[in-house]
Every structure is written in structure tokens, then in C-alpha cells.
């Protein structure tokens, strides 16, 4: 029997919560939020403390010995023999380059300090992305300095000692190996296995080889080309058809399992930018023009989080849903093709779908038919892609907001073909060019083939699973070390890959290796130049092309298509029902590691998954309904929160089986798919999932990737099959009885359900644009600005109005007064634009030298991110019977708010955190003594403490203190030299990228002075510079998080300038301060979120769920009149 969860109050259930535990007010959660510093250092157990004291004593002793070394150590400065052109020490250079991905080449700008690339930004010449990047590009620079990268080329030697054998790698010269490999094609058949980057140059080199009889196999764990291939074959079109949405033109979007804003679909940066531009709401009239997103999906994705209406549906039922939807569209269009309609209805079957949802959604899409688009998910089968195409065709949106680009066919050579060729001795050598197919496609049989062939080599960035099965491993250069030329995903431009640094180790790029196999002696640079010059319409010289980084090409979209109805008639109904014993498994690329390629990247591993907030692990996500089923079948699993329990002495007694040191232990289960395949991993309950869908992510469970990524998470790749759908059915789930602790940051830094994120529906917003001001405790208290309430922002930012306080603000002397500053910095974050992509988190980490702390420290709540993304769920379910399944998601980026009356400053005993004259809450690391009072007093919980020398010591030897090993020196190369690398014992936090502010101010002043001197010829007292000439122009400073944001949700600037972008946004009625009633007067304010639901939809609610919860809490007496039950 399914047990009732009595911890959930029946009528006024908490609607707005961050985790299941918080919802249930479990003792663990209570004790967690009661602690200021979760799992602080003072909780070191005795043994550790003793060890620590011993270590300290030893280091003091050593310090005594070193007294003779009191003299300053001699430092040398080593200038060049011949200085390179255009290089001025201290000034970074910026180069256009791009990152090859399965989703095309992403145009980038890389920042280089004296030849060391340190930061990646988007290339602003790629205008559709507007200079923004995705999270993976931000993190990719860390891979360059990965100490576990292969540092050359090796041959594998197997040493046998009795029964045991071990592998030894013998170092060889990469160039010599390449020339050796070039002979392979002469001595017998050669097969090349590559991943699927759209490289112009590589395709050309491979084509040359293929014409000489070399076989080319292309694989990708997350195959981006499957839909384009299957759609073309369904329609009988010669070329592949790639769907390129034009979402800036879209008014109504229906996503069918398509996470077009997230990491699972191509071009997410461009999609996010284009789609969210239709949701910018600055006035009531904008709200009527807002676009609307319907998401039908099985997993809760970022797209589902943004959606105005979201329907949970198993991925395997998506086809039936689409058929019914198309039938509805045809009916509404009064189509005469009744055969097709009845066939579609048959495919849809008598399924359980909400017909009203379908019909109202269809009506809404038809109301703007040319600007409505249906997007099918990449992992979906070919029938869904055909149906989506047919719907788009009948909506008439092809050519407006959705386009189909004919692209060339990919190699059709498969692993089966390769197996036959190897068996019949037609292939004697296999060259794996990049990627990691043995890990990604374990069912391909490649492992055996590699052992059967005479020669095998793997070109890869580290010695991985594939290398272990090859005789040779060749170190691959990072993209920041190589030359290449490739297409962007939408094929609107060709972009170069330009090296910023000579290879750090003896490695070669795929192009160099292929050129060697081609017996082409040109350098990869010359090949790129030649390939560029061979392009048509290159009126720009190569050097200028490198400078711009973009060569635009005309996209020729296909406009004429065959009628789809005959193809649709061939579809067969596939009515399968899911239940507890017949589950569906959806395989997705993992947020952290994607398909495993970022599995040794600390930034990616530690960046919390935006929805589940897990770090350092992947989990099998299950729905609350299925969790309940599991728990009733296997009592003691502890998947769902338990009611508060006190033991006899009145202390909280958490269920010891489920909680380990206050951390939730996740039960490990085995998922059996069919009879052959199973995976084992920890379960995590995720609201928003379709009831009987289990989401498993690929890319974890690596055995050979590096010291950081080995043995993290579980490996789901055994369920994948090359070229097949990533939706599996007929799965079952059995607990193994074991548990695993997951490092979840979800419950950290809770804001306890106050009016933190403020939301309204578009209709509410139109009638009351300043709804955000009527929420929160400050709307009930006397205004904090008192008589100065109506003064403008300029006045408020340049003075500290006393407001209603009887306390007189200290009269700052001239040095410190706000008037002294030329600018007053402030930030505005538009919650309506944030999709939760988390790129800002990693961008900040890269810009500000933020350390990675490791899973163990994350479990202690010591993650160091300066900006975090709080994810809140809210739901309508009010009966309290079970955990909510249908949730609304709200994201809020929280970094230091730079409060004008900052609580952290008043408690610092050494004045290490004080205000500067431009309104920044400064943090002087060299003054900080680490009392952590400031963090205790910060209401936003944005201060981060260096419990260890994270930058200096290895993560697994932190507790050894000064006796632990230091990090490899190569990791220091990637640090930003403009930002202090903090040491143990100091507090740190967001600085509004003060290094960028200072740099821009300096540039502006120098430029003003020099230009005026040149213009007037005066350089003395006759030279007059006005205040405005010394000010940084609006938009002249972009913080790292702002620069990376694809949707421009973050705006930074001078709030003492009423014409600046940020001032305009702050004077918008949607602007509000988080915890404003504390009179902290934060400089970072938020623009309230506006949702745009369709009033006719069955799941429509007048207010967003979170707003309802706020009103229920703020006006409990009105509860019954205002809000009767939902719907």
C-alpha cells in the first residue's frame, strides 16, 4: 500500500520550495538551515584536529629554520631576445577562433595573456549569438591545462607477470608515429573512425582518402545528424534536411521533447537568444506581444522550465501525441483529407492525453500560424520528425520561423560493415580520430575489432578507454593549439580554428595526422589557408578573415517539399502502455560531461545541474509517482521525505538508513532494459518527470579519463546503440540495497520561501505593471527611503538617504563619499530572460580564478561559485497527498548584491570589506583574517570562504595542509593574471569584476587625456577635461556573467547616469530588491518574471503558482475567497 506522507499539511501545503526535503520540513532540512555554515571547519573531528595541530607545529618549526632567509628572494625578469610584434607585456591579446563540436563550430574570441589563453568569449561578429557562449565553451579552456592530458604519443606494452598483466605506455615521437601511420593504407585496408565535427578541412582530407579505398566511419554518442537523415529518407529527399529554427520570428512554439534552450539540442545559444528576445517585457504593450511556449516532455528540461504550459508525457508516447495534435490542426483547418485525419487518430489511439490541452494548444498555434512552430527533440524517432515537419508545413511556418537546410549526407559506413570488413581481412588497420568510441558505443563491438586488426591507433586528448584497446595512442592537440576550418551548425558561416599557443606537449591535431596519412607535407596552417582560398566569394584576405573570425555564406534553404500525407499514411500505431513494471528510459547527454568529453573538467563537474542541482555525479531521475511506488514496494528506501520525528529525549532522530551525516543517501537501483542490458546507479526523485520515465544521463562512469573524473557516477552507455533512438522501453527497476551520497547543492543557501522570485502572468502584469512592488515584506512596512522615496536613482545612488531611520548614517568624509566617485555601479538581472543555462557560473569561475573544491567539500557546503543559480519549484497541488509532479520552475542568479548599507561591512573587525566610492562592496584579501563574521551576517549567503588552499593544493590532499602535494604547475597557466589567486583563510565573493571596471576606467582616462592633448596641443594647465569625458561609456564594461549570457538577462552599468541601460531597467516598475525590507539597498536588483499562459488552456491558473503561495502566506485570511481550488 502506498503510504500517505503525513508531513505534508493537507490544505495549505507549501507551494514554493527548493527541494523535496524542504517541502516536508524534515529534521535534516531544519538542522541544515539552522546552521550558518553548513558543515563548518569547526566540526573537524578529534583525529583531524590533532593532525592539524601537528602539522602547524611542524610548519612553525620550519619557519624558524628559515629565519636566515629574511632577505627578499632575488627575482629575475626575463625579457624576449627578439620581442614579438604587437605584444606589450600586461595587455591581453584577443584572437578569433572557434570550438569544434558535434553541433558545428562555435565562433569564439579567446583572450591570451603573454601567449597563454585564459578566457573564452563568444565572437560578436557571429551576430545571431551576440557575443555569448555556451557553458561548455567557457569550460573548454580548462581542458587545455588539464594535468591528465596525454603529454605525447605512446605505444601500449602489456607486461605479463604470471597470471597478471599490466599495461605500460612507452613514449614515442608524435611526428614519427604519424609518418608510420601514413604507411598503413599502403599495406592493407585502413578504416578511420571519427566523431562528427563539421570541419571543412577534415572532410576534404577524408574524402581524398575515401577515394583511395580507405573506409570512413562516423559516430557520435549523441548523434546530431540522425534526424536530418531520417527526415530526408521519410520524405524521399536527396540531401539530408537539417531543421534550423528561426525563433526570433516565432510567436507560439510547441516543443515535443525538444530542449532547444538547453544542452541537448544544437545551437542552444542562438536559440536562447532568438527565443528569449520575444519575451522581453518592458511595458504593458510588450506583454501582449510576448511569445508563448508549450512544452511536452518526459524529463524536466530548461525548455520545460521556461514553458508557459508544460505537459508531462513519456517520450515514447510523443509520436501518438503529435499525431493527435496534427489531426486537431487539420480538423481546425477544415482539411478535406479525412483519410489522413482518421489515420492520425488511429496512431494517436485512445490514449490518455488531455484532449482539451491539445485542441486549445492547436487553436493557439493556428491563431499565428505562420509564426508558430513545432520542434521535435533530437533523440526522438523518425516518425515524430516527420509529423513535426507535416505540422509545420500545414501551419505554413516553413520559411518564416522554421527552415530546413539541405546538408550533405554523412558516411553510411557502420560498425557492422566494419566488422564484416575486418572479418574478411579487407581492413587491417583502424585509426580512431578523436572521440572515445569504446566508451561511447560499447555495443558496437569495436573493442573486439581493435584487438583483431594488425594496426590500431587512437588520437585523443587523454589515454582513455579507447586508447587502452589500441596499440598506439597519439596525443591530440587542444583546439586552442590547432588549425582548422569549419561550418557553424546553421551553415551561415565558416569559421577558423586558430591556435593561441604552440602545443604544450608533443601532440598533433587531427588535421595534421590526416595530412600525414594523405602524404601531404604541408603544415596545417598552409592547409587552412589553401582551403580558405579555395572557397568561393572570399573577397577578404586570409589574415583579415582570421581577425574577424567569420566568413559569411549564404544559406540556401529548401522551400519546395513533397506532400507528406502519403508518408504519414504509412505510419503504424505503436500503442504501448507504460506502468510500474514496464518503464521507459530516456538517455540524455549529461549536463556536466555531455557525452563524457568533459569528464575530467573540474569546472563542469562542480557546476550544479540547473534542474537537479547535483554536482560531481549523475543520477537516475525518477518521478515522484514512481518513487512512491518504489518506496511502497521496497520499504526503507528513503526516497521521499519522512515526517519530522523526535526521539525519546526530544532530539531529532533522522532515519539512519537514509541519512549519512545529514546528507541524503540515494538508493542504488538496477535498471534492466530488455533481457541483455542493465545499468546500476543512484536514484534521485525529480518532480516534473513523466510518471514512468527514468532519465539516465550518458557521460559518467568513466574509468580512464583522469584523476578528477575517474569513477564518478554511473555509466549508462551500455544502453546505447549506434544509430538508434535514445528512448528505450520495457525497462524495470530493482533496488540493490546499497546507497550512495550525492553532492547536491539544492538545500544550500535556502531563502526560505519569501517573496524572493516575484512572478505574474502577462494579463496580471498588463493590469498592474508594478505588481512586484506589492509583494515582499517591504510592501507592508513603511518605505525604507521615507521622504526620499520619490527621489530619482541618481540622487539615491550618490547619497545615502536616511529614509525613515532614526539612525543618522555616518557622515562620510570627502574621501569616501559617494559623490566622489565618477560612476555608481549597479546591476539588473531580468528573471524573465534567464533560462537557467548556468553559463554565467562557469564564466565567472574562469574570469575570477575560482577554485574547484571537489565532491567531498561540496558535501560540506563549501562550493566557491561567486554566482549561483537558485532554482525554485512551485506547484498547484494542494491536496498534500503526494509530492507534486507538475511544477513551475523559476531561476534566480544570486551573486554579491553590493548593498549600499552592507551588513557584512559593519561586522568586519579589520575593515577588510568596505565600500569604495563607486558603490562596490570591496573585499581586500590581503587584509582579511578569516573571522567569517561577514558571511554570517550576509542575508544573501553569497560570501565564500577559503577553508583550504584550493588553488595551490591537490583536491584529494587538502587535509594534509602544507604537507600535501602542490597542484601541477600547468594549472596555474590558465589563471587570470588580473585577479588575485586567493589563499587559505580568506573570504571572497563577487566583485562586479572589479578588474574589468578598473581596466576600463584606466583606458577611458588615458584615451581622454591623450586625445584632448593631441587635439588642443595643450598638455598642462590649459588642458581642461570635463567629468563626462572621464566616464566610461555605457556598455563599456561587461561583467563576465553579463558577457556570456545568451539572452542579455544581466545588465551592468552606471546607475548615476540616468540614460544608461541599467538605470532604465532599474526604473522599470518590474524592478525589485531581494530582501529589500532589510534596508540593505542592494545594487543588484531583479526584474520580476512574467509568464504568458493561455487562459483557455485546461492547466491555466490566474497567477503563477509562486505568486499564489506568496499571497496565501501574506494574506492568509483572504485565502479562501481569493483562491479556490485550481482550475
Amino acid at each position: 500500500m502506498i503510504k500517505e506522507n503525513d508531513s505534508l499539511p493537507l490544505l495549505s501545503g507549501k507551494q514554493y520550495w527548493k527541494s523535496l526535503d524542504e517541502l516536508a520540513e524534515t529534521p535534516e532540512f531544519r538542522s541544515w538551515v539552522d546552521k550558518e555554515f553548513p558543515e563548518g571547519a569547526e566540526l573537524l573531528d578529534n583525529v583531524q584536529r590533532r593532525g592539524f595541530l601537528k602539522t602547524m607545529a611542524a610548519s612553525f618549526g620550519l619557519a624558524g629554520l628559515g629565519m636566515s632567509g629574511c632577505r627578499r628572494p632575488e627575482h629575475t625578469i626575463l625579457p624576449y631576445g627578439k620581442s614579438p610584434e604587437e605584444l606589450i607585456p600586461g595587455i591581453p591579446s584577443f584572437y578569433a577562433t572557434s570550438r569544434p563540436t558535434p553541433f558545428g563550430f562555435l565562433p569564439l574570441i579567446a583572450e591570451s595573456h603573454q601567449g597563454r589563453p585564459t578566457k573564452i568569449e563568444g565572437n560578436p561578429s557571429f551576430t545571431i549569438a551576440g557575443g555569448s557562449t555556451d557553458i561548455y565553451s567557457q569550460a573548454s579552456v580548462l581542458d587545455l591545462y588539464d594535468p591528465d592530458r596525454s603529454r605525447g604519443s605512446f605505444s601500449r606494452e602489456i607486461l605479463r607477470k604470471g597470471d597478471e598483466s599490466s599495461v605500460r605506455w612507452k613514449k614515442l615521437s608524435s611526428a614519427k608515429l604519424a609518418s608510420e601511420i601514413s604507411n598503413w593504407s599502403d599495406s592493407g585496408g585502413l578504416a578511420i573512425i571519427t566523431d562528427s565535427a563539421d570541419s571543412l578541412l577534415r572532410n576534404e582530407l577524408i574524402e581524398n582518402l575515401v577515394s583511395t579505398g580507405v573506409k570512413h566511419l562516423e559516430y557520435e554518442a549523441i548523434d546530431p545528424h540522425l534526424p536530418e537523415k531520417t527526415l530526408a529518407s521519410s520524405l524521399g529527399v536527396a540531401e539530408n534536411l537539417r531543421l534550423i529554427p528561426q525563433l526570433h520570428k516565432a510567436k507560439k512554439v510547441l516543443s515535443l521533447d525538444c530542449d532547444f534552450l538547453g544542452n541537448r539540442e544544437p545551437n542552444s545559444t542562438v536559440n536562447s537568444r532568438q527565443f528569449m528576445s520575444g519575451r522581453k517585457v518592458l511595458s504593458a504593450s510588450d506583454a501582449s506581444k510576448m511569445n508563448r511556449l508549450y512544452a511536452v516532455e518526459s524529463d524536466l528540461t530548461l525548455t520545460g522550465g521556461v514553458a508557459d504550459h508544460r505537459l508531462r508525457l513519456p517520450s515514447s508516447r510523443m509520436e501518438a501525441f503529435a499525431a493527435l495534435f496534427y489531426a486537431e490542426i487539420l480538423k481546425l483547418q477544415k482539411s478535406k483529407d479525412s483519410n489522413l485525419i482518421s489515420h492520425l487518430l488511429k496512431i494517436g489511439g485512445d490514449s490518455e492525453f488531455d484532449r482539451k490541452w491539445i485542441s486549445e494548444c492547436a487553436k493557439d498555434l493556428l491563431s499565428k500560424s505562420q509564426n508558430s512552430v513545432v520542434l521535435p527533440g533530437l533523440h526522438q524517432n523518425k516518425n515524430l520528425h516527420l509529423l513535426a515537419f507535416a505540422i509545420n508545413q500545414s501551419l505554413g511556418s516553413i520559411g518564416t520561423c522554421v527552415t530546413y537546410l539541405p546538408v550533405s549526407k554523412r558516411s553510411s559506413y557502420s560498425f557492422e560493415d566494419l566488422a564484416i570488413d575486418v572479418k574478411e581481412k579487407r581492413i587491417s588497420s583502424i585509426l580512431v580520430l578523436g572521440g572515445n568510441p569504446v566508451y561511447n558505443c560499447p555495443n558496437s563491438g569495436l573493442q573486439d575489432l581493435l584487438s583483431k586488426v594488425e594496426n590500431s591507433a587512437h588520437l585523443g586528448q587523454s589515454i582513455d578507454e579507447t586508447s587502452l584497446h589500441c596499440k598506439l595512442h597519439i596525443g591530440q592537440s587542444h583546439f586552442l593549439e590547432s588549425w582548422d576550418l569549419g561550418y557553424s551548425w546553421d551553415q551561415s558561416c565558416i569559421t577558423p580554428v586558430q591556435p593561441l599557443i604552440a602545443p604544450l606537449y608533443d601532440t598533433i591535431s587531427d588535421i595534421e595526422l590526416l595530412a600525414a596519412v594523405n602524404k601531404n607535407t604541408s603544415s596545417s596552417h598552409d592547409l587552412v589557408v589553401a582551403a580558405y582560398n579555395n572557397l568561393s566569394n572570399t573577397d577578404v584576405a586570409f589574415d583579415d578573415f582570421l581577425r574577424i573570425g567569420i566568413h559569411k555564406i549564404k544559406q540556401s534553404f529548401k522551400t519546395v517539399f513533397p506532400d507528406t500525407s502519403p508518408f504519414l499514411q504509412k505510419l503504424k500505431p505503436a500503442n504501448l502502455q507504460l506502468d510500474e513494471s514496464s518503464l521507459e528510459v530516456l538517455l540524455t547527454p549529461d549536463f556536466h560531461t555531455w557525452d563524457g568529453r568533459f569528464s575530467n573538467n573540474g569546472w563542469m563537474l562542480e557546476c550544479p545541474d540547473p534542474i537537479s542541482k547535483l554536482t560531481w555525479d549523475n543520477a537516475l531521475l525518477v518521478s515522484p509517482v514512481f518513487a512512491k511506488h518504489l518506496e511502497s514496494k521496497y520499504p526503507g528506501l528513503g526516497l521521499l521525505p519522512k515526517p519530522t520525528m523526535l526521539n525519546k529525549s526530544g532530539q531529532i532522530a533522522p532515519d539512519a538508513a537514509v541519512f549519512d551525516d545529514g546528507k541524503q543517501k540515494a538508493p542504488i537501483v538496477t535498471i534492466q532494459v530488455g533481457s541483455d542490458h542493465s545499468i546500476t546507479g543512484p536514484v534521485y526523485v525529480q518532480p516534473g518527470l513523466a510518471d514512468f520515465t527514468i532519465v539516465a544521463s550518458l557521460g559518467f562512469g568513466r574509468k580512464h579519463t583522469g584523476r578528477i573524473g575517474n569513477d564518478l557516477g554511473y555509466n549508462a552507455s551500455s544502453l546505447t546503440h549506434f544509430g538508434q533512438s535514445r528512448i528505450l522501453t520495457n525497462a524495470s527497476c530493482v533496488p540493490t540495497g546499497e546507497f550512495k551520497t550525492l553532492a547536491n547543492v539544492q538545500e544550500h543557501w535556502s531563502m526560505e520561501g519569501r517573496a524572493i522570485v516575484r512572478e505574474a502572468n502577462a494579463a496580471e502584469y498588463q493590469s498592474d505593471t508594478s505588481f512586484a512592488h506589492h509583494m515582499g515584506a517591504e510592501s507592508h512596512s513603511p518605505p525604507i527611503y521615507g521622504k526620499d522615496l520619490d527621489k530619482d536613482l541618481v540622487f539615491k545612488s550618490q547619497t545615502t538617504p536616511r529614509g525613515n531611520s532614526s539612525y543618522e548614517h555616518p557622515d562620510h568624509n570627502h574621501e569616501k563619499s559617494e559623490e566622489h566617485g565618477l560612476h555608481q555601479w549597479g546591476m539588473s538581472i531580468d528573471l524573465n530572460q534567464c533560462t537557467g543555462c548556468s553559463a554565467c557560473v562557469v564564466a565567472c569561475q574562469s574570469e575570477n580564478n575560482i577554485p574547484v573544491v571537489g565532491k567531498d567539500q561540496v558535501l560540506r557546503g563549501r562550493e566557491m561559485h561567486w554566482i549561483r543559480l537558485d532554482r525554485y519549484f512551485s506547484s498547484t497541488q494542494r491536496d498534500g497527498a503526494e509530492l507534486p509532479s507538475d511544477v513551475q520552475v523559476s531561476f534566480q542568479g544570486v551573486a554579491c548584491m553590493h548593498c549600499e548599507t552592507a551588513p557584512c561591512e559593519t561586522v568586519c573587525p579589520v575593515n577588510a570589506t568596505v565600500h569604495d566610492e563607486e558603490g562596490l562592496n570591496a573585499m581586500a584579501y590581503n587584509r582579511c583574517v578569516g573571522t567569517r563574521y561577514c558571511a554570517n551576517n550576509c542575508p544573501y549567503k553569497v560570501r565564500r570562504f577559503n577553508f583550504f588552499d584550493w588553488n595551490k593544493r591537490k583536491t584529494d590532499e587538502l587535509y594534509e595542509g602544507p604537507l600535501g602535494d602542490e597542484n601541477e604547475p600547468v594549472t596555474a597557466m590558465g589563471k587570470n593574471p588580473d585577479v588575485t589567486v586567493r589563499m587559505r583563510g580568506v573570504m571572497e565573493k563577487c566583485t562586479y569584476c572589479t578588474q574589468r571596471i578598473q581596466e576600463s576606467k584606466i583606458r577611458t582616462k588615458i584615451k581622454a587625456q591623450r586625445q584632448k592633448t593631441l587635439k588642443t596641443g595643450n598638455d598642462g594647465k590649459d588642458l581642461i577635461l570635463e567629468r563626462d569625458e572621464l566616464k566610461v561609456a555605457d556598455g563599456g564594461i561587461k561583467t563576465a556573467c553579463q558577457q556570456v549570457c545568451p539572452t542579455d538577462a544581466i545588465v551592468f552599468g552606471d546607475i548615476s547616469d540616468p540614460t544608461s541601460e541599467v538605470s532604465k531597467l532599474k526604473s522599470n516598475p518590474r524592478d525589485y530588491s531581494v530582501l529589500g525590507y532589510l534596508n540593505t539597498r542592494p545594487r543588484t536588483t531583479f526584474l520580476a518574471k512574467v509568464r504568458n499562459p493561455n487562459p483557455r488552456m485546461p492547466d491555466h491558473a490566474v497567477s503563477p503558482h509562486s505568486a499564489r503561495e506568496y499571497h496565501d502566506k501574506a494574506h492568509p485570511s483572504h485565502h479562501d475567497e481569493e483562491h479556490s481550488s485550481p482550475h
Binding site: 627578499r72 632575488e74 627575482h75 629575475t76 625578469i77 626575463l78 625579457p79 624576449y80 631576445g81 627578439k82 620581442s83 606589450i88 607585456p89 600586461g90 595587455i91 574621501e815 569616501k816 566622489h820 565618477l822 568596505v914 565600500h915 569604495d916 566610492e917 563607486e918 562596490l920 570591496a922 573585499m923 581586500a924 584579501y925 590581503n926 587584509r927 588580473d978 585577479v979 588575485t980 589567486v981 566583485t991 572589479t994 578588474q995 571596471i997 578598473q998 584606466i1002 582616462k1005 588615458i1006 587625456q1009 591623450r1010 592633448t1013 598638455d1019 598642462g1020 594647465k1021 590649459d1022 588642458l1023 581642461i1024 577635461l1025 570635463e1026 567629468r1027 569625458e1029 572621464l1030
Partner: protein
């Protein structure tokens, strides 16, 4: 009962306190004197690999500072000149001086016959390029701590002369640390920039001083002239942490 302690012992506490006070005072005085940059830095004069004479080059010959330290107007670093800057003159002047051997090695590197071209026997490391030699290991004299971000360009471009921090380099045969460059030194000037400001054309003229009337105090004249520059140029040096610490 007999007194246990003799009479003189009554003064012991007082003596002890006085001694402690004296000792404490001595420690404070010693730290103030010996452990501050005024003592630890000023006068630091390491031996350089090449006995480059600033008083000859910058003083007698009149080479502008920026000829060698060319990054000073653009970058935070004033840069130490690369060997090619030295060689632009010393290819011809004193071309064979043994004192310049280190510089020549750094400049020519693999180019052993010094013809500017790569001959077959010259490519020692086999990279097909004319590789430069080892860098001249100049010893750093002025060093800001790692957490201080000093920017040369903004000072030089806004009328703060090199002499303010580095002293009369044009009179030094071998450069030494002339000023203490502690945080109080920085703040002193940031609080009262008028004492240091001069027309930008005179920034590298280390001998410059403001033209004062014979009966006027030259320091006062500088303050008057500096104040004018400060107001007209809008010079507003930062006084808070973020100005230098990031």
C-alpha cells in the same frame, strides 16, 4: 614574624613594569624601523647581469625612458626592454664589448654566424626556426606585492613622473630602490596628487621642477601648479581598496 623579603624587593614590580615597557618600546621601535619597507627596500641595489649605466644612457645621452620601457604608456607593466632594443644601437656601438655578450647571446640565439638567416648547422633544436637565445636575467628591483595591481599607464599619462616612485634614475650608475613604495607611500600621493602632477610632456624629464618665482617656496609652487592641473584634468585618484586590490 620576620620579613621574608628584603626591603629592596618592594620596587621589583615597578622595575619589572618599567623594564617590560622599555623592552616593549624597543621591540615596537625595532619593528617600525627594521621591518617596514623604508628599511627593507630602500637602497636595494642588486648586481645586474649587464652593468647598464642609467646615468650615462638616460642622463648624459638623454635617451627618453620610453625608448626602452616602451610599454609604460600603454600597459600596467613598464616592461624591461627585450634584447633587440639594446641591439638596435649596440649592433654598431661597442658591438664587441664583452660586457654585452649576454645581450648578444639572447638576441642572436641559434644564429651563430649572426647573418640573420638560418643555416643548416644552426638549427640546434630542429624546429626549423631561428630560435632566440636565453633571456637576459635582469634582477627585479621594484616589486609590488602580488595582490597589488599597479598600473604604469594611468600614472604616466596623467602627469605623474617616473621620478616620483623611482627617484633620479638618470643620476644612478646602477639602479637602486630609491623610495620605499609602501602602501602609505601610495596613499600619500593618492590623497594629495597635487604634489606630484606635472604637464604630461615633462613626465620623463626627471630633472624637471615647476618654475617658481625666486621668493616663492618651490614646494608651494608645485602644490599650486599641481592643484590647477588636478582640477582641470579631473584627477581623482582612488582611495579605496578596489583601486589597487582586485
Amino acid at each position: 614574624m620576620r620579613n621574608l623579603f628584603p626591603r629592596w624587593s618592594n620596587t621589583i614590580p615597578l622595575k619589572f613594569i618599567i623594564a617590560l615597557g622599555l623592552l616593549g618600546g624597543a621591540v615596537v621601535a625595532a619593528i617600525t624601523y627594521y621591518a617596514t619597507p623604508k628599511y627593507t627596500r630602500v637602497g636595494y641595489q642588486p648586481t645586474q647581469p649587464v652593468p647598464y649605466d642609467h646615468s650615462f644612457h638616460a642622463g648624459q645621452l638623454g635617451l627618453d625612458c620610453r625608448y626602452c620601457h616602451h610599454g609604460v604608456e600603454k600597459s600596467s607593466h613598464a616592461n624591461i626592454p627585450s634584447a633587440n632594443v639594446c641591439m638596435s644601437c649596440h649592433k654598431n656601438v661597442k658591438a664587441d664589448s664583452p660586457l654585452l655578450e649576454v645581450v648578444r647571446q639572447s638576441y642572436f640565439g641559434e644564429d651563430s654566424n649572426r647573418d640573420g638567416k638560418l643555416s643548416e648547422d644552426e638549427d640546434l633544436n630542429g624546429d626549423g626556426l631561428l630560435t632566440e637565445g636565453p633571456a637576459v636575467p635582469w634582477v627585479r628591483i621594484h616589486k609590488a606585492p602580488d595582490y597589488v595591481y599597479f598600473n604604469h599607464a594611468i600614472h604616466v599619462n596623467r602627469g605623474v613622473s617616473c621620478v616620483e616612485c623611482h627617484g633620479r634614475i638618470d643620476e644612478m650608475e646602477e639602479v637602486y630602490h630609491a623610495k620605499h613604495l609602501s602602501m602609505s607611500f601610495c596613499l600619500e600621493c593618492h590623497r594629495n596628487p597635487e604634489k606630484a602632477l606635472r604637464p604630461t610632456s615633462e613626465v620623463t624629464n626627471l630633472a624637471w621642477s615647476v618654475k617658481a618665482d625666486p621668493d616663492e617656496d618651490p614646494d608651494l609652487a608645485q602644490i599650486h601648479a599641481g592643484l590647477e592641473l588636478k582640477n582641470n584634468w579631473g584627477v581623482n585618484p582612488p582611495l579605496s581598496c578596489t583601486g589597487c586590490h582586485r
